[in-house]
């Protein structure tokens, strides 16, 4: 058992290492041009060489993403609360929300640029637009899936809708909520990066485009790695918070 656990813990790192080694071997063996497809060593090299640059752009992308993500949490939770607590709101808003979610968010960037100009505005809003939907859906689902019996038990005691929502609905939707944060934070990074590629003078997205146009493929890949690391760290952070705060949801499935 213990052995199995340790294996699971290390598995992603082992896999990563294996991929990197194969990648390096292939690049070296076939002498792939560093301008077309850089080897891991080359990317590492570039990463070190431009670390100041990468750090600066990463920081920008990071805080822009976090602002957009914060906005997404506030709006997502409020919308989810409204949709999940009223059947009418659910019926009215859900189809529209789904349609909106199907729109490619990159298509909003030019519009946002017209409204807010080049820079932070479009990036924050793109990150927000792409990441609030899963939060809304999960909060709404958590609230809407209340056992009718439990609702009867409480209603007969004179519980108001509000009581039921606060005592039962919200705690019940917490695991859904944290689950959605994990998904939403990765989406938010996508939003920011896409927006920066089109309309910014700073950020990893901007770095990717300018490195690409200067044929600095190593640097472009290094930028991708930086986004990947940030997204992964944030994902793990929210996964950890989820585990800490809603242990009952994970263990509950065994008992029932």
């Amino acid at each position: 058992m213990k052995h199995q656990k340790r294996l699971e813990r290390w598995a992603p790192w082992v896999l990563l290492l294996a991929v990197v080694i194969v990648w390096q071997v292939v690049c070296s063996a076939f002498e792939v041009s560093e301008f077309i497809f850089p080897s891991p060593l080359r990317i590492w090299d570039q990463f070190l060489e431009f670390r100041g640059e990468i750090l600066r752009h990463s920081w920008r992308t990071f805080w822009v993403t976090m602002v957009g993500f914060g906005l997404a949490i506030v709006v997502g939770v409020l919308l989810g609360f409204v949709i999940g607590s009223s059947r009418l709101a659910y019926a009215a808003m859900y189809p529209l929300m789904t349609a909106f979610n199907a729109l490619p968010k990159a298509a909003f960037v030019p519009i946002l640029v017209v409204w807010f100009g080049i820079g932070v505005g479009p990036a924050v809003l793109t990150a927000f637009l792409i990441s609030f939907f899963p939060i809304t859906v999960n909060i709404a689902t958590g609230l809407a899936t209340l056992e009718p019996e439990l609702e009867d038990v409480l209603r007969v005691l004179g519980a108001k809708r509000w009581d039921v929502l606060v005592k039962v609905g919200l705690p019940r939707s917490l695991p859904h909520f944290y689950g959605s944060l994990k998904v939403a934070i990765t989406l938010a990074f996508v939003g920011t990066t896409v927006s920066e590629m089109n309309a910014a003078n700073e950020g990893i997205g901007y770095l990717l485009v300018s490195a690409g146009s200067a044929m600095q493929m190593g640097l472009a890949f290094a930028g991708l790695v930086a986004v990947g690391i940030m997204a992964m760290v944030m994902y793990e952070l929210f996964a950890w918070i989820e585990k800490r705060t809603t242990a009952w949801a994970h263990r509950g499935s065994h008992a029932a």
Binding site: V153, L154, W248
Partner: protein, 269 residues
Amino acid sequence: MTAGAPQGFVEFDRVWLAYNEELLAKNQFAVEDITLSVREGEFIAIVGPSGCGKSTFMKLATGLKLPSMGSIRIGGERVTGPLKFTGMAFQAPSLLPWRTTVDNVLLPLEIVEPYRSNFRAKRAEYEARARALLQSVGLAGYEDKYPWQLSGGMQQRASICRALIHEPRMLLLDEPFGALDAFTREELWNTLRDLWTQQQFNVILVTHDLREAVYLADTVYVMSKSPGRILIRREIDLPRPRDLDITYTEPFVNIVHELRSHIGAVRGG
């Protein structure tokens, strides 16, 4: 108030219920023409095939649904909305998995008046009461465990405690032991019997288990399949206190058999 007529604790007077206007217009009723009178402290059981409106009856008796026709009086008052002096438990224990067992039992006190207003101030007292109640149903040592650490039977005991914590005058049980194995079920019959004997609240037990109904109740009502009507009222004159041995005696078996034949007739017709 009808002068002269004996006033029971629960009085159903020619009660009809259709779930909505549309069904009412089509004359499709979930329950029809229910008339019954229950004494204070009486334990009644309602049996019948599934889909006979037993659960509808529960909703009427708690005031969660109001009758389309006829009237219901409980405790001398005409029912016009949810009755706070009732407690309910269902086949699914529906405990909240993020609360400990004792916190689950305390939940009603956070909602119902007068406990709600002073819940913070008197929390210690209420918690002691909840613990005592849990101990009385054999859950000593499990008060601070989470529901998912309890077996199905234990969860159901806790669910019944939750229904009783605000000392209701009436306990409504909708197939509460339906999901349990036979041995656990019989244990819980006795738990319920003891609680009822001590506290003398009214019980309305909805079940499809005839032995359960006859073992526990003072009076058994048999309902017909949709639309739900009361076919028979049978007083169970077995002596109290009853214990499980009685379920193997001839009078008991005869009553069960007699009721069973009525249900058979319902099915056939």
